[in-house]
Symmetry: C2
Subunit: 332 residues, 2 copies
């Protein structure tokens, strides 16, 4: 089969690979579409823990079950998506030490076929195209856990989502709109992303490139009960300052790195909570899928490339030009 | 009556003051003992928000009800302690904008008499001396909320309390020991404070003046499920690093100021929670008193001074030499 193989830092190639036999309890899925995550770019660039070479990357995929090494033959021919969370463990609060994400160390979805345990397979929601279904798993479950589980969004909440345009931030927006939040504000570095976020249901959009972005949010919304942030870095103290008393800041990433001189006085006096979150448990994944079905949620697909056009797809992600998920079409 | 009056920054004097009439729904309490808090020192030094002059400081007191302007005459002659939290409001998660602490702006307990609303009075626990009862309110409710409400301590938890010797930290230790925690470690800058904390029920004590203090804790306990900290500052990232996955860090103060370059990667990947807390609601105060009664908890009293010896008492607090609460004896 053809697969995108990471040979060493920065070196990816579309190679012909021999397929392994299917272990008991596993299924072979012929992939229709796969989606990119920042994780893939960081691994390619060597900026990730415990990288192994060679690896087939890709955490998100939608495909057709072709074979199973199990009695569950009814799955064959079904269109499925794959839960990329592996070995979360029994604690809903946090992943176990054995936790891994599909696509390094185990072979991922940037390939014509993937072999995965049967319990990772879920029917792809019928109202989604192959590309939309492929866009859902990792960013979807991360956003769902951030908004609904760790953030526990309520219909009375004012909500701020920073850096709209990224996969998790956009899913956070559509989940929050569906689950209920009084007011949703978003920030971005590009005016057209703010416009598109408002079309998707955001109430306010503010350019974080403006030095007065925090004042603008305060003027328009007041303070925030819930903030979902994947950046941290220097602007984080502004998020603290924008928090209402008893506010929650759910942090799912740190693309801007550590926070210089965290303002702790506001944290204890206003009784704020900074809540770290990452990915999601099997329960979160099932709940996320149920919410997608119930509210007919459609992932935002930025663009679709052929598997052979992978270099362009990665370049688009590196430039941060996307609004929504970048998808690779693998087979018809 | 005699009262300790703050006239301007740094200027405190023991003066004769005229007493105001008792408003309806209020009681006049003849104070037996009062306890110092860091708050008093900060206000005297001008390092506090919205300081008013003149003010009678003091948030903690135990006394005898002498008069009430109400039908509840049965209170007269009772030994009481005073809930220093005023106007918390209806939200258990956080105090209202109207919240104040007894002793600036309203006259406090460093006086022979205090006039307070009847609903601030609670019977002083019978097993406590006047000095112990006076030591309880503000530090007790702050520690109880930190440990039991915000920290939600469980019997399986490994717990770290930083800066043992301070009032809140010591109450956190005795509450955690009573409510149940698997292992309790403490840090201090003084070996004798560690010894005394271990005598009070701590399992491990580590000197934070040793550069390897965090390693020592890791070696002895592993990681921590719950950390209660009132310092923040530079050591805070070590607390983050010492947190077990899904760990909670409850922050009730910041005597060391902001955190330089907060390590956010650990926070989201280990799904940690940083939980700000301050003081406590009326419900917390009642629950704290119930726990004190049930577990026969005795506040740690460091030293007792006469009201006229106030300057020595404040000096002792400024030097940080105390282990437990510094108490002023006001009348027999």
């Amino acid at each position: 089969m053809k697969a995108l193989v990471l040979r060493s830092a920065g070196h990816v190639s579309l190679d012909d690979i021999e397929q392994e036999p299917i272990p008991p309890g596993y299924a072979r899925v012929r992939l229709l579409a796969a989606a990119l995550n920042h994780r893939d770019v960081w691994i390619i660039e060597g900026k990730y823990a415990k990288i192994r070479y060679p690896s087939i990357l890709g955490s998100d995929g939608c495909g057709i079950v072709e074979e199973v090494n199990d009695s569950e033959r009814g799955l064959i021919g079904q269109r499925v998506i794959i839960n990329p969370n592996q070995h979360w463990g029994g604690d809903e609060r946090v992943q176990s030490a054995d936790y891994t994400i599909l696509g390094m160390p185990s072979p991922g979805t940037f390939a014509e076929y993937i072999t995965v345990p049967l319990d990772r397979l879920h029917p792809a929601p019928a109202h989604l195209s192959d590309e939309e279904a492929a866009a859902l798993p990792l960013a979807g479950v991360t956003a769902y856990r951030a908004i609904a589980v760790q953030g526990n969004v309520r219909s009375s909440d004012t909500l701020l989502i920073s850096g709209i345009g990224g996969g998790v931030a956009l899913f956070a927006l559509v989940f929050a709109r569906a689950l209920g939040a009084r007011t949703i504000a978003v920030t971005s570095g590009a005016p057209w992303k703010l416009e598109r976020a408002i079309a998707l249901g955001a109430d306010h959009g503010v350019l974080y490139t403006e030095p007065t972005w925090a004042d603008a949010l305060r003027r328009r919304v007041g303070g925030f009960d819930l903030i979902v942030d994947g950046s941290a870095g220097e602007p984080f103290n502004q998020l603290v300052a924008l928090s209402n008393p008893a506010g929650r800041i759910v942090l799912y990433g740190a693309t801007l790195g550590g926070v210089p001189m965290l303002d702790v006085h506001r944290i204890f006096w206003r009784q704020l909570r900074i809540i770290g979150t990452t990915m999601g448990s099997d329960r979160d994944f099932a709940a996320m899928l149920a919410a997608v079905e119930q509210h007919r949620i459609r992932p935002v697909v930025d663009s679709v490339f052929l598997l052979s056009e992978y270099a362009e797809a990665f370049e688009r992600m590196r430039k941060g030009e996307q609004f929504g998920k970048i998808v690779l079409r693998i087979s018809a």
